[in-house]
């Protein structure tokens, strides 16, 4: 019976509901713009990662390693682009 119960998926589902609720709170409570955006960004990225690992089964096939390598590389390129752009256009303008 224990093997049949999809504990990981149920936990993932509950956790993603919690993340959604936290994100929704930003709308209903009176937070400053900065704090609100931070919460949204953090919950959004955790949510995306959760979906990828639990429901889209990243890492469960024999390509798991290359999937994570690609994601890691993509994240690095994205961070470089975003922070580089911020540096050029805002912080050092």
């Amino acid at each position: 019976m224990k093997e049949l119960f999809p504990a990981k998926q149920v936990m993932g589902f509950v956790f993603s509901l919690i993340l959604t609720a936290v994100a929704l709170l930003v709308y209903f409570t009176d937070l400053s713009f900065g704090v609100g955006m931070t919460i949204l960004l953090v919950t959004a990225f955790i949510q995306a990662f959760l979906q990828l690992v639990v429901f889209m089964h990243a890492g469960e096939s024999k390509d798991g390693k290359s999937i994570y390598t690609t994601i890691f590389y993509g994240v690095i390129i994205a961070l470089i682009t975003v922070f580089g752009t911020l540096l050029i256009l805002l912080w050092d303008m």
Partner: protein, 660 residues
């Protein structure tokens, strides 16, 4: 009548009217010719619907050559206009349009399809596969590129060409300053062909990672395969940025958003920023496959293993990461602070290190080799010193403080032509000559090929080296004329002479194809160059299924070792071969994308919406389509194989090969 006024050219000139007539006549001529010779069925069954990587590669090749002449015509017009002070050949507007289309055509519609041509032609053969991973997607990539290219090329006779430079910087490219539909053409045509490029990137990456012959580990892949893998990784990570930037630019121009405006919260520098986040990796997308081709050619014609295989791979991986770290060096003078400029100066100069490693590896491959001075080898040997000069001036430009002097002058123009022409164009012509016999069954004439090489090299040096001097003297880029007092006249005349020599050089390529088609012998065997990698281990011309038996690989130079050490590449019984079916959907989608693009450019919404729906209908139909492909049975394979001579590396080897 009012409806049709939008299609008129805003700045007509006799030259444009002449081109209109020429285009109309040539189009009618082609249509009548195909109908007269009853070739529509042949074209449809063999080419328009094909999913065969070799045929798609040949179509890319032909498109690239045609676009080379289109872009070359732009170039010779520009050089003619600048050949003397106060020339009246072109007016300012026409000159703006020509330098814009020259840049876009040469990068997006000449260099990109040229490298895609070689990827398509060579990669599946080089890794011992039967086709790419997604053959139909591959056909769609080609037809999207073709739709984009055609869309861009009709701009100068319908509605006016883009005139804001190939970089199309906002706010100049915004509606306030670029009032014609030209920049819409730029946005939509690049968008459509860019989607095609992105799909090729995914396709080639998957092919190389998943479909290599048994025994070919990553570190046993030939160098062109490695360079293609890295280039396609860069495509996958860089092209989405262009897609989004073009979309934002399109909505700015068509729907009145304010991403790149100077008012209402827009940020005018953001376009330049996004453009170069894509644009700098783009130059490595072009140059890395070129490096791969040079590696193959230099090692073949030196009869030596490629020196420093691991360092070659390592330097390419490093270049792929560094290519994303340098984009600011394209706009050092835009006003950001010294801190940013210093960071990007250092990352830019760092790229010279892995590139230098590669240069030394090629030199050491040549060292003590038995060098054969064939045409592909001449291009490769010409490339090394010329490209190094381009690289060194690149390091000069990388110093941000000094860049304030060089920026936007002819010095910069000389620099990037100095890297792209010996780097990419020479590689493409070397590859063209090198791989020609494999796909067409006859060799290109060596004598004419050598005169082409010398015409291009001498022409190149005469055309671009004077620009370094006039650039340092202050001749600005993109200025359509100058006064006699500036003293730029004589050197610009020299440039024009060089450009004319190059034009003659390119014309000799066409003559060479014609001459060789008429006169070259056809019994050249499967390995005319005595080459080293798997693409030469199959018949010439290559059968539809590439290899009757899947090759077994033991080293990075599988075919060479099969010839010299007696490795057996092809073992075991013949089996039925599973091949994909042809499909007309990619071609039809290309046409629909063309219609969608054209309607968006002129803001004619009803056909635009219908075409967009058509695209999604095609995609939905595909997902419901049941297509398991077809099988070529052993009996058929035997019949086809019997038509060819035995290839080397087979179990029953023949020792006779024809060499030149």
């Amino acid at each position: 009548m009012e409806f049709f006024e939008r299609f008129a050219i805003p700045h007509p000139s006799p030259m444009i009217y002449a081109s209109m007539v020429a285009i109309a006549l040539v189009s009618i001529g082609i249509l009548v010719g195909i109908t007269y010779f009853k070739k529509w069925g042949y074209l449809w069954h063999e080419w328009f619907t094909t999913v065969d990587h070799k045929k798609i590669g040949i179509m890319y090749l032909i498109s690239a050559l045609v676009m080379l002449f289109r872009g070359g015509a732009d170039a010779i017009l520009m050089r003619a206009q600048l050949s003397g002070p106060d020339m009246k050949l072109l007016d300012g507007q026409h000159y703006n349009e020509i330098f814009t289309t020259h840049g876009v055509v040469m990068i997006m519609f000449m260099a990109m399809p040229f490298i895609f041509a070689f990827m398509n032609l060579v990669i599946p053969l080089q890794i011992g596969a039967r086709d790419v991973a997604f053959p139909r997607l591959n056909a769609l990539s080609f037809w999207l590129f073709f739709a984009g290219a055609m869309l861009f090329n009709i701009s100068f006779v319908i509605g006016g060409s883009p005139d804001a430079g190939w970089t199309s910087y906002f706010p100049l490219a915004g509606n306030d300053f670029s009032t014609s539909v030209g920049t819409n053409y730029y946005m939509l045509a690049l968008q459509i062909s860019g989607i095609g490029s992105l799909m090729t990137g995914i396709n080639m990456m998957t092919t190389i990672l998943k479909m290599r012959a048994p025994g070919m580990t990553l570190m046993k892949m030939p160098m062109f395969t490695w360079s293609t893998l890295i280039a396609n990784v860069i495509i996958v990570f860089a092209f989405p940025v262009l897609t989004v930037a073009l979309l934002m630019g399109t909505t700015d121009r068509l729907f009145g958003t304010h991403f790149f405006t100077t008012t209402n919260g827009g940020m005018d520098m953001l376009w330049a920023n996004f453009f170069w986040v894509w644009g700098h990796p783009e130059v490595y997308i072009l140059i890395l496959p070129a490096f791969g081709l040079y590696s193959e050619i230099i090692s073949t014609f030196s009869s030596r293993n490629l020196y420093g295989y691991k360092s070659m791979v390592g330097s390419m991986v490093l270049i792929s990461l560094l290519s994303f770290l340098v984009w600011t060096h394209h706009f050092f003078t835009m006003g950001q602070g010294a801190l940013t400029n210093s960071i990007f100066s250092i990352t830019t100069m760092a790229i010279a290190v892995p590139t230098g490693v590669k240069i030394f590896n090629w030199l050491f491959t040549l060292w003590k080799g038995k060098i054969r001075f064939t045409v592909p080898m001449l291009y490769s040997i010409g490339f090394i010193p010329l490209f190094t000069i381009g690289g060194v001036t690149g390091v000069m430009l990388a110093m941000s403080a000094a860049d304030y002097q060089y920026h936007n002058t002819m010095f910069l123009v000389a620099h990037f032509h100095n890297t792209i022409i010996p780097g990419v164009v020479f590689a493409m012509l070397a590859g063209l000559t090198y791989y020609w016999p494999k796909f067409f069954g006859f060799m290109l004439n060596e004598k004419i090929g050598k005169s082409t090489f010398w015409l291009l090299t001498v022409g190149f040096v005469l055309a671009f080296f004077p620009m370094y001097i006039t650039g340092l003297d202050g001749q600005a880029r993109r200025m359509y004329t100058y006064s006699e007092a500036t003293g730029f006249g004589p050197l610009n005349m020299l440039s024009f002479v060089g450009a004319a020599l190059m034009a003659i050089g390119f014309a000799t390529i066409v003559y060479n194809v014609y001459y060789s088609y008429k006169n070259s012998p056809r019994n050249i065997g499967s390995d005319p160059w005595d080459a080293r990698s798997l693409e030469w281990a199959t018949h010439t011309p290559v059968p539809e299924y590439n290899f009757a038996r899947v090759p077994q690989v033991f080293s990075s130079e599988a075919f060479w070792d099969a010839k010299k050490k007696g490795h057996q590449l092809f073992k075991g019984e013949l089996k039925d071969i599973h091949m994909p079916n042809n499909s007309g959907v990619p071609f039809i989608m290309g046409i629909i994308f063309f219609i969608a693009g054209f309607s968006f450019i002129f803001a004619i919404w009803i056909p635009a919406v219908i075409a967009l729906i058509g695209i999604f209908v095609c995609m939905a139909l595909r997902s419901f389509e049941l297509d398991h492909g077809r099988h070529i049975h052993v009996k058929e394979i035997k019949e086809i194989e019997a038509q060819y001579e035995e290839v080397q590396g087979n179990e029953a080897r023949s020792h006779t090969t024809t060499r030149v």
